[in-house]
């Protein structure tokens, strides 16, 4: 229940984010019991380097407050899509916040939007899409993997988001998006191995007044094939980009200053040997030694409204005349 809006107090069943340090952030559930990997019901105790946390004790605490652990302390935060992206259990490779942010902006998603997504994957992007369309919009998300669909459904329910999302098992490349969604979507997001097979189906699901599409692909070959199909089908403004984020650690560096002037004349024995070395203090920000170098290519395009589509197709044809696709 803890993803919907702003909450003050932790309730039973809430997903809670436990913050220990900047690199140690975890998600737990405020419940007394949990099921172990072997399917046995056990006490829900979360082990940390600062001591054990009995998750039942979280109930009634305030979001944003400090909690004591036997060897230290931590903080509990209400989950946001960003925190969920960092702490969710991966069933697939997920999309991270820098890409998610760009997708939300480029797809022009706002409260009331109808968004279609495939594949659901581990639900990382889904949570951010839901936040954007609430309360009057809706996310329809599809995955062809039965278990992923099941898990996503359970998570949305546990998070209190079921009103805003519908998960279904479907191979959208084969079957399209279904008759119920005919011409209803403002935006479509594809994260599929063969998106060019699904793109033709998007013409049926996007509103007649037009809409936006995004395809996320790790490989450039996938991007090339997708762009080719987008152009043929009359999409405009086809743009491919990548976004990579660098984080900085603020540090005050102390740089010793070497005094080299004295070398210009002969030593006359009068310099004090114990002279203090000058130090310059420098406030700077240092990127990490390792950081992501590639996540995927984001390809965006606009599907013009039906009244402008044929014109766009002929414009695209003129542009690509002579190209072999």
């Amino acid at each position: 229940m803890s993803f919907d809006g702003y909450k003050t107090t932790i309730e039973e069943g809430d997903t809670v984010i436990l913050y220990l340090t900047i690199n140690q952030v975890y998600s737990v559930r405020a419940e007394a019991k949990t099921t172990s990997k072997k399917g046995v019901e056990v006490d829900n105790v979360f082990q940390t380097p600062y001591g054990a946390l009995k998750c039942a004790e979280l109930i009634g605490k305030s979001y944003g407050s400090k909690i004591s652990l036997s060897k230290g302390w931590g903080y509990v935060m209400q989950p946001t899509p960003e925190l969920w992206t960092l702490t969710l259990p991966h069933r697939t490779q997920i999309i991270y916040t820098p890409d998610i942010s760009m997708i939300l902006l480029q797809l022009e998603i706002k409260p009331g939007s109808i968004v279609v997504e495939s594949g659901t994957g581990s639900g990382s992007l889904s949570h951010a899409l839901i936040r954007s369309v609430k309360p009057t919009g809706h996310l329809y998300t599809f995955d062809f993997h039965e278990n992923r669909v099941k898990l996503a459904d359970i998570e949305f329910s546990q998070h209190g988001l079921s009103d805003y999302v519908t998960v279904a098992q479907r191979d959208v490349c084969d079957c399209g998006f279904g008759a119920e969604l005919q011409n209803r979507a403002d935006s479509v997001f594809l994260d599929l191995p063969h998106p060019w097979q699904a793109i033709p189906h998007t013409l049926d699901v996007i509103k007649e007044s037009g809409g936006r599409i995004c395809s996320f692909s790790p490989c450039i070959e996938q991007v090339q094939k997708s762009c080719g199909v987008l152009s043929k089908l009359g999409f405009q403004e086809i743009q491919t980009m990548e976004v990579l984020q660098t984080s900085y650690a603020v540090q005050t560096k102390r740089l010793p200053v070497l005094d080299l002037d004295f070398l210009q004349s002969e030593k006359d024995g009068s310099e004090s040997k114990g002279k203090e070395r000058e130090v310059v203090k420098c406030l700077t920000a240092v990127p990490p030694a390792n950081m992501p170098g590639h996540t995927g290519y984001l390809t965006f395009a606009t599907l013009p409204p039906v009244w402008a589509r044929n014109l766009q197709i002929s414009l695209n044809q003129q542009e690509s005349s002579g190209e072999l696709l």
Binding site: Y19, Q106, S209, L283, A285, P305, A308, L311, G322, E323
Partner: protein
């Protein structure tokens, strides 16, 4: 109700190839787009995403009228007779084109038909047939772009405005690039509920428009938009054609004025807002609009806000220090700066405060790609973004 019809008074984006410009549509008016001046009258009543052909105004060299087109006449693509294998024998001496500048200008003013003009340029080019196929294609695309006679009318959206403002002059929006903007929106956790506080000292209204857009229509959320001037910058806000009820939930107040009201005029905003019916006393002086807005803002600030976003050309520490007391515990602070040093100062300041955790400074590498068969590569030109600081305020 035709939502898609273009009406007088609408703000529209006029797009010619990659070039976009914001324009407020009057009943009779002209717009200058690059070197072209066009009469916009014929757009009224048509639909968004319609394409119009620029037709030379009889008797004028530079003025064009717009005529709606439903289809591009299928012109036979320019036939390339032959191409070379590589450029080993081609010298760029500036003498390849036989037509003079005046002759080309004459063609342009007679009839702006890109196919026709490009065809003539190719016919009169000495070196065209020696170029490789790819080079010929690149040449044709470049010339077509220059003489392209079609414009499209687009409805303004945040991403179109952000890209347009950045391309025209990044300083007009404090250097906020689209990736910066997208992350300011997500990290601040702005939603269709709650109260959100923004200090913005110069983004041409892009940030308040983006946050107001994320708040959405028909819900109880508010945006308190604090600015340092007499009037807030509004370009992007008006361009978005927000409905009145949504605009009413964006409360624009001056920084000094609202803080003075908050601390010194507690009686004014603590009492319930007076109903118009009760105020029958004509002798009571009417409150100026800005004072009413200040009081509205103070009432919201007193309850506390659910996000704080700061994008300032001034040093952020003193601003954050003042405004962060309005931020509820358990919520996020997002500060944008085009340069990193002010955020480094803010980082250390927040660390000393003890009521902030999860403080991060990030910046982004953003690059576009040219995707063409056998010619896919990152684009040759790149832009630079700014820095975003985020932090989580603890509950005391």
């Amino acid at each position: 109700m035709d939502d898609n019809a273009i009406k007088v008074g609408d703000f529209v984006i006029v797009q010619r190839q990659g070039y976009t410009k914001l324009h407020k549509l009057k009943e009779h008016g002209t717009l200058s787009l690059g070197s072209f001046n066009m009469e916009m009258d014929n757009i009224v009543g048509e639909k968004y995403s319609d394409t119009f052909q620029m037709k030379n105004y009889p008797g004028s060299k530079k003025l064009f009228t717009l005529e709606k087109v439903d289809e591009i006449p299928s012109v036979l693509s320019i036939n390339i007779e032959k191409s070379g294998a590589d450029n080993r024998n081609i010298t760029d001496d500036g003498q390849s084109q036989n037509l003079t500048t005046e002759e080309i200008a004459k063609l342009k003013s007679e009839e702006l038909n890109s196919n026709n003009i490009v065809g003539k340029l190719i016919t009169n080019s000495r070196t065209f047939n020696e170029k490789t196929e790819y080079s010929q294609e690149k040449y044709m695309k470049k010339k077509e772009k220059k003489y392209f006679e079609y414009v499209q009318i687009r409805r303004p959206t945040i991403r179109l405005l952000a890209t347009m403002f950045y391309r025209q002059d990044p300083t007009k929006t404090l250097g906020i690039r689209s990736d910066d903007l997208s992350q300011i929106i997500t990290y601040s956790n702005v939603q269709a509920q709650g109260t959100h506080l923004l200090y913005d000292s110069g983004t041409s209204g892009l940030l308040p428009a983006a946050l107001l857009n994320q708040i959405g229509a028909q819900n109880p959320a508010h945006l308190v938009h604090v600015h340092p001037g007499n009037e807030c910058q509004k370009s992007a806000i008006v361009a978005m054609n927000f409905p009145q009820e949504q605009l009413a939930r964006c409360i624009n107040v001056n920084l000094y004025s609202v803080l003075r009201c908050f601390y010194q005029n507690k009686d004014a905003y603590n009492s319930e807002p007076q109903c118009k019916k009760i105020k029958l006393d004509d002798s009571a002086p009417k409150k100026p609009g800005w004072q009413i807005e200040n009081e509205k803002a103070c009432r919201l600030l007193e309850v506390g806000v659910d996000s704080l976003v700061v994008a300032a050309k001034e040093h952020p520490v003193s601003i954050v220090d003042q405004l962060v007391r309005f931020l509820k515990g358990g919520r996020y602070l997002v500060v944008f700066s085009a340069t990193r040093e002010p955020l480094q100062d803010l980082y250390n300041h927040l660390k000393e405060r003890l009521d902030f955790i999860y403080i991060r400074i990030v910046s982004n590498f953003m690059r576009s790609y040219q995707v063409l068969p056998d010619r896919t590569h990152p684009e040759v030109n790149m832009t630079s973004g700014g820095y975003v600081l985020t932090g989580f305020k603890l509950v005391s």
